[in-house]
């Protein structure tokens, strides 16, 4: 049981505190195209072009250049990912092998469900709708894991007999 891979217990609380506003910002960015001007007009990019046609002679793409863009959605996405990871992977108050096994089970479970949903969406969504699915898919594995892991622990707590 290698608990060194987990974050301290207090990170969970901070994860929620960061996640709440980040999630709201994410929704605003995604559905209302909210952008803050102070988050830049230019963004640095490793590669920008008309699609990934690196092998095509007619490619006009550029490596390591600045293009026009805004960091609002970048920050919203990163903050959501970091805060969800803080919620998902911080230690329980009492960390033991049973909790560890429940965690590993839930992670496997979340991976299966996540890719099952993705395969389903691969089949039935195309173009921009699929791009949206991919955006959600970045977060679903963590969200499914958090739900399943905490549900199991909650169920175990509820099933415990009251004893003298």
């Amino acid at each position: 049981m290698n608990t060194n891979l987990l974050l301290p217990y207090t990170f969970r609380k901070w994860g929620w505190i960061i996640f709440a506003p980040s999630f709201i910002l994410g929704v605003l960015v995604l559905f209302l195209n909210v952008e803050f001007d102070w988050l830049g007009k230019k963004v640095f990019t490793i590669y920008a072009g008309s699609g990934l046609k690196i092998l095509n002679d007619a490619d006009t793409g550029q490596f390591f250049s600045f293009i026009s863009g805004n960091y609002t959605q970048t920050f919203a996405g990163i903050l959501c990912l970091v805060s969800l990871m803080m919620i998902a992977f911080s230690k329980e108050k009492t960390e033991d092998e049973f909790i560890w096994r429940t965690r590993m089970d839930s992670l496997l479970w979340a991976t299966y469900i996540n890719y099952f949903i993705l395969i389903f969406c691969f089949l039935f969504f195309f173009d921009f709708e699929f791009l949206y699915i991919m955006i959600f898919n970045m977060f679903t594995i963590l969200i499914i894991f958090i739900l399943r892991f905490n549900y199991i622990l909650y169920k175990e707590r509820k099933n415990m007999p009251y004893e003298k």
């Binding site: 009492t94 092998e97 415990m160």
Partner: protein, 66 residues
């Protein structure tokens, strides 16, 4: 795998909570072991049997399906 942890606990007259604290695990762990839903590691099995002053075999038994 079956076990008679609950019986041993009754003999010593301690609660799941107390046993969990002494061994250094969560109460959920003790509860799931007693309910035979979770098979503890060798380390935890030895810690538990040490506490009750017994051998591991006196507390944990294989079932036919194991």
């Amino acid at each position: 795998m079956k076990n008679n942890l609950r019986v041993e606990r009754a003999i010593k007259n301690i609660t799941q909570e107390e046993l969990a604290k002494i061994i250094g695990v969560s109460r959920q762990a003790i509860n799931s072991i007693e309910a035979a839903k979770y098979v503890p590691s060798t380390v935890l099995a030895i810690k538990l049997s040490d506490y009750f002053g017994k051998t591991v075999n006196e507390i944990f038994f294989l079932e036919e399906t194991d």
